[in-house]
């Protein structure tokens, strides 16, 4: 089996991809003057212009490009991305690290719900083609697809927060927030649902879950339609193929024909578009977090952009590039796992 060799090859390809991502961001940086770039490494506004020149010299900001890149990438790798002025003058890397667990929590709940719901509904829709359930699924997924992210978020907020008064926006209620930030609560992971369990305070976990439900639903609404549509059409295509007839003629049950034979083939295009889905999800995260006042990395990026905080925005871009490359790596490996024909070549 060529699976191992394929994974090794694909992981090796990951290195040039990352290099490309850093080069791209480095290229964007070149739009700014050395002085502007230097100010990224200075807290607040310097009173003495000498400070800027000292930074330019120390960080080689006016050196030839390849030397500049060398020093820049070394700093990036050691975690120095500049100062985030929009987040109270803390280092960008610190701000990112603070936001990542929250976003991770959001995404880790959203992805399974998007993927499993999308695949389930897509199959259901295809198997019941042109029947009522097919129409209903398609109508709802089209609505979800065409709603702008902030719009669906606002609708959810006005119904569940405003109208029904379930919980307020944010990651936690004020009470829970007080406990979480108190010194005797240890934030092991900064993922509240997990930290609640680790501290033996289950109500924190429940409080966090209550707050995360709506953002997760929002992200699901905007992304699930893509999976449903691709799954439905690829499922319909597979169901009309010769091997399905063979499988039925072998006496296999409908369950096996659909969930073993057709599904695995139909998943191939779904896996392929999952890369696109990641991109959509990342934009969705920025808007969803902002509207729900959910302080993750998307919230941080939106605020940085509004305040023209260049180092923070570029730090976020670097993060996005990294996530995107990893997502595509996972997509390609899953792809090869499902389809043996990919492994060769």
């Amino acid at each position: 089996m060529g699976m191992k060799a394929y994974i090794v090859r694909r992981v090796l390809l990951f290195i040039p991809t990352l290099l490309g991502v850093t080069l791209l961001i480095f290229a964007i940086l070149q739009f700014f003057t050395p002085e502007e770039r230097a100010s990224a490494y200075i807290r607040g506004t310097p009173k003495n212009p000498d400070v800027i020149y000292r930074v330019i010299e120390k960080y080689h900001l006016d050196a030839p490009l390849h030397i500049q890149y060398y020093f820049w990438i070394t700093r990036v790798l050691s975690g120095d991305l500049g100062i985030a002025k929009s987040a109270g003058n803390i280092p960008v890397s610190v701000a990112l690290l603070k936001g990542i667990p929250a976003t991770f929590e959001l995404v880790i709940f959203s992805i399974p719900s998007i993927i499993f719901l999308g695949i389930y509904l897509g199959i259901k829709s295809a198997v019941n083609r042109d029947k009522a359930s097919d129409h209903i699924i398609r109508i709802f997924s089209i609505i979800g697809w065409s709603l702008p992210t902030f719009w669906s978020a606002l609708i959810l907020i006005s119904i569940f927060y405003g109208g029904l008064g379930w919980v307020s926006a944010g990651r936690l209620s004020n009470e829970a927030y007080g406990v979480v930030t108190s010194p005797n609560f240890i934030r092991y992971t900064r993922i509240n649902t997990i930290d609640g369990i680790l501290n033996g305070q289950l109500w924190i976990t429940i409080d966090a879950l209550k707050h995360i439900v709506l953002p997760v639903i929002n992200l699901t609404i905007i992304s699930v339609a893509l999976i449903v549509r691709v799954m439905r059409s690829s499922m319909l295509e597979e169901l009309s193929k010769g091997y399905i007839l063979t499988a039925k003629a072998k006496g296999l049950s409908n369950d096996v024909v659909i969930n073993k034979h057709a599904k695995r083939n139909a998943l191939i295009p779904v896996v392929t578009i999952s890369g696109v889905l990641t991109a959509g999800l990342l934009t969705g995260v920025v808007i969803t977090e902002t509207v729900f006042n959910y302080k993750g990395i998307g919230y941080f990026a939106a605020h940085a952009a509004l305040q023209m905080d260049i180092p923070s925005v570029l730090g976020f871009a670097l993060f996005v590039g990294l996530v995107y490359s990893v997502a595509n790596l996972i997509v390609d490996i899953t792809y090869a796992y499902i389809d043996p024909r990919i492994r060769v070549e």
Binding site: Y243, T246, K250, G251, L252, D339, R341
Partner: protein, 387 residues
């Protein structure tokens, strides 16, 4: 000789946007035990749909709208496959009747190994026997593994599940267990047992190095090897009837001959009855005992092979015989075009092209009648109607 299957007045229609395609219009034929019946006709005349109607597997937007498929099961009971429920059909498909299709590469699922796809037939239809073997093996391992507590515990657990499946106890529990990743591993033994049988079957079908082939994916095999694998799936449970739908049309000429030889040999060995679909009269002469000729959704003539070639009665069959390219003889094509089945010709569907058509041909549909012993024709020239 008894009949294995009898198709009575089968009507199949396709409901398309362009209109209703009257694909089969009262098809009648029967297959006798042990024989090879050839089904011949031009592309689009309904051969594949006739074969599929036996399985009650007409693809949508098609539907079987009338008729009966009377099938004699291995137990000797006669069942109408068109009124059987889905579960009943599934027990018969692949176990008592099997089909092989024209395009072996399309008949195999590209993402599962050959071994997996052949094993599946055993797992579906021979579960009891597989279970028995597996339980016996577990017992042997239990004997050998005195003292290894964990191993014995797992073995006991697996044996328990197998015995439950065997007694067909709580099928719901089994279905749930089958969905849980780690627990599902218990099926490995069953699958290994099925795979062993699959490999020995592949070896029987003349596939070299069957252990290796079983772990290969369809795209790694040649067309001839793929078709052998498809034949293996079809014959796995020793069916009484094999429907072979142009099994060699898409293969190279040299491989065609070998596959035909294989089918002949297997037929002898397993005592299978064959419905052999082809558009090639040469293959018919080589393979079949009797022939049914189809034209535009009707069976127009049925007779022994020798009789059909020596003494064709239906004008379409005659034209078909004359269109065989032969050295020293004039090659004639049939005049006119194959009719559109959305608006088929009235009466006899062949009448616009028939050189012997008479008035009634456009009005009345000729019935398939036994004109001489074992020679059936559907034509007004022979049923006394033309006078």
């Amino acid at each position: 000789m008894s009949q294995i299957v009898r198709l009575k007045d089968i009507v199949v229609r396709f409901y398309t946007y362009e209109g209703v395609v009257k694909a089969l219009e009262k098809v009648n034929l029967f297959v006798k035990k042990g024989e090879t019946l050839g089904l011949v006709g031009e592309t689009g005349c309904g051969k594949t749909m006739t074969g599929l109607s036996i399985f009650n597997l007409i693809p949508s937007p098609g539907r079987i709208e009338g008729g009966e498929v009377l099938f004699r099961t291995k137990e000797g009971r006669i069942k109408n496959l068109l009124s059987l429920d889905e579960a009943g059909l599934q027990r018969i498909r692949g176990a008592e009747i099997s089909m092989i299709f024209q395009e072996p590469s399309a008949s195999l699922n590209p993402v599962y190994t050959i071994g997996d796809q052949v094993s599946e037939v055993f797992l579906t239809h021979r579960e009891k026997a597989l279970l028995k073997n597996t339980i016996k093996k577990i017992d042997e391992e239990l004997q050998e593994s005195k003292g290894e507590l964990l191993k014995r515990f797992i073995l006991r657990f697996e044996k328990n599940i197998y015995e439950r499946i065997m007694r067909n106890k709580d099928p719901l529990l089994i279905r749930i267990l089958n969905k849980i990743p780690l627990i599902r591993r218990y099926r490995r033994r069953l699958e290994a047992e099925a795979k062993k049988q699959a490999i020995s079957l592949l070896r029987d079908l003349g596939i070299p190095d069957p252990e290796r082939v079983a772990d290969m994916y369809p795209y790694e095999l040649s067309g001839g090897m793929q078709q052998r694998a498809v034949i293996a799936m079809a014959l796995a449970c020793n069916p009484v009837l094999l429907v072979a739908d142009e099994p060699t049309t898409s293969l190279d000429v040299t491989i065609q001959a070998r596959i035909l030889e294989l089918i002949r040999e297997l037929k002898r060995r397993f005592d299978t009855t064959v419905l052999f679909i082809t558009h090639d009269l040469g293959v018919i002469a080589e393979m079949c005992d009797r022939v049914a000729v189809m034209y535009a959704g009707n069976v127009v003539e049925i007779a022994d092979v020798k009789e059909i070639f020596r003494n064709p009665l239906h004008p379409y069959t005659k034209a078909l015989m004359e269109s065989i390219p032969q050295p020293g003889k004039e090659y004639k094509t049939i005049r006119g075009v194959v009719p559109n089945l959305i608006n088929p010709p009235s009466g006899c569907r062949f009448h616009p092209r028939c050189p012997q058509a008479v008035e009634i041909c456009a009005e009345k549909r000729p019935e398939l009648l036994e004109i001489r012993k074992d020679h059936f024709v559907a034509c007004h020239l022979y049923d006394g109607e033309e006078r």
